[in-house]
Amino acid sequence: MKTIRQVGLVGYGAYVPMYRLEASEINRMWGGFGAPVEEKTVVAVDEDTITIAVEAAKQAVYRAKITPSEIGAVFVGTESKPYAVKPSGTIVAEAIGATPNVSTADFEFACKAGTEAMQACIGLVGSGMYKYAMAIGADTAQGKPHDALEYTAACGGAAFIFGERSAETIAYLEASHSFVTDTPDFWRRSKEMYPMHGNRFTGAPAYFKHITSAGKMLLEETGYKPEDFKWAVFHQPNTKFPINASRMLGFTMDQIKPGLVAPKIGNTYAGSTPVGLAATLDIAEPRDKIFVVSYGSGSGSDAFIFTVQDAILDKREGPKLSSFIDRKKYVDYATYLKHRGQIVQ
């Protein structure tokens, strides 16, 4: 899919909280042996999806060097909305100074809500409706105690501001493709605290089918081959899945390495692919091509191709994602539960 007028990124930001829970600590508590990631991020007691989104959004505005009131849309993609009814987007838009002449909404599509918001922004800017539009993917994911997902359900997010392609855009979009089917591999019903999942069903017929299908279709549409890309980012629910998905599509470990942050922060759900893209933009050079494929349970994938421009060299001031990842404080299991609100006074 291509837009009528070319669209690009004018700014980006990413944030992960400073607390960490190691897989070994979960094993100590439950007597398990898993380590799908080394450790995962944990929110502070006063953090939630909105505060994470605001941190990332403010950084994106700062780097983009634009006037926030020119942002026509602020979309927050998440599956951990602090309010069931009341948009997160309004709070974020107010916090960054984008209100009142702005469109906001919260997007939900499991782990691809953030990239779904990106697709919407691309369409709105591509049509000329807005000068700038901001898409955020952020989550404070819920992992049921002693469930396999407890190892990985983490928190973090990234924000991207889209604008018409110009010399000011840090990377322009070449094309995108969305691939969706009704595949119920993971879900959380209303009023339930924790999601359910279909174990192995989340793999081959869900994650891998959708990621590889979206990826292959975008490659076919554009005529590119995996070796044409300097970098690649895939949704990272754990360490193994994105590595296997990249192999299946013909990408190498070197291409995904900068964006593969899950081993150190876990699965940030709607923030996962956006955070991986932000980590890749942190080290990308002008003219690098980046291949991105997200995955959201339910299920679907959004695939994007970005080409980095010279402007990136002037528009990534401030702390890189790696500095947030390196800034960490370990907590034990009880503290983790307290921060998550799972034990209360």
């Binding site: 042996f33 279909g198 174990n199 192995r200 069903f201 081959a204 017929p205």
Partner: protein
Amino acid sequence: MRNVKVAGIGLLKVKEYWDRSIQDLFAETSLKAIKDAGVESIDKVYVSNMSAALMQDQLNTAALMSDAIGMPGISASRVEAGSASGGVAFHEAVQAVASGYSDTVLVTGVEKMSDILPDVVTTALAMAEEQEYTAYTGVTKTGIAAMIHRLYLDRYAEASEVCMMAVKSHEHAVGCKHAQYPFKMSIERAMSSPMEANPIHMMECAGIGDGAAAIVLVPADNAGVEVAGSAIATDYTSIAQRLDPMAMDAIRKAADRAYKMAGITAKKVDLAEVHDDFTINGVLGVEGLGLAKDGEGAKLVSTEEVDKAGKIPINTFGGLKARGNPLGATGIYQVAEVALQLRGDAGDHQVEGAKYGVAQNSGGMASICAVNVLRRAKK
């Protein structure tokens, strides 16, 4: 009683068939076997399936599968004997042809385990134990196997020797087109895998898979592969009720009966497929078939004697561990693999000069066992 010939074989690769139904799997493999046999029609269908009632909410599979293969109206029965369903169904099918009641019989095993969550598979396996005496305590089949395994280690062998059962099965599966895991696995990898139930490592357990295998039986004509012996035996359902929980009398009795019917002893067996859902069960299968003395099975499977050029090749296509263990289909896979060997169609897995092959298929903790002996016909 007529002699019976294995006239056709159909095998599907054991894997996860996310987008196919049990009918799909059953029909594809059955039609393969019918085509392989070159028969015009089928008199009777035996459906071997263990857990469709739990895994697909499906009963009445005999009618369902007859419909699936486009043969409504045909005589059909479903056979269930836990994970020995396949071996027992084959035995029933043999009886149908041997007795003269039917001339052309299709026996197909099918199981689709990927439709459900792993804890339901665990429940299904535990359902082969007595619900009111054993299963209700919460013990899993792995837990029961672990008790036997521990006893075996106390009495006879090193843990690594028992574990070699899995290593050998994987080695033999390399290149097998219908195997779920056709790759080698080192003893180090197996022994360092997490404990499922101490002392059973994860890599000593057969996995979860979908599969279907089919065989067509007809009256023997002194050509191809014949059924030399076929027997079933049962035991006390719970190991706690047995004089020696490790004795596995059902395997021994079924083997004795099948060998007697075939007019042979264990010494005449040229290759064997044993029920290695857990390494310890594979080892006890080897001993129960009389291929090794009591307590020496683990030592035997640690040697090259069980490779295709060895004295007694075992699990020549990977066994339950590496070929896969789709429960109700497993016993049919085993017999079909023995038949492939005896008719010289085993490709890279071929055991040269084999005349007699045996398939041992257990249900529960060998509370029921089917042993089927095949032989290469004279012509």
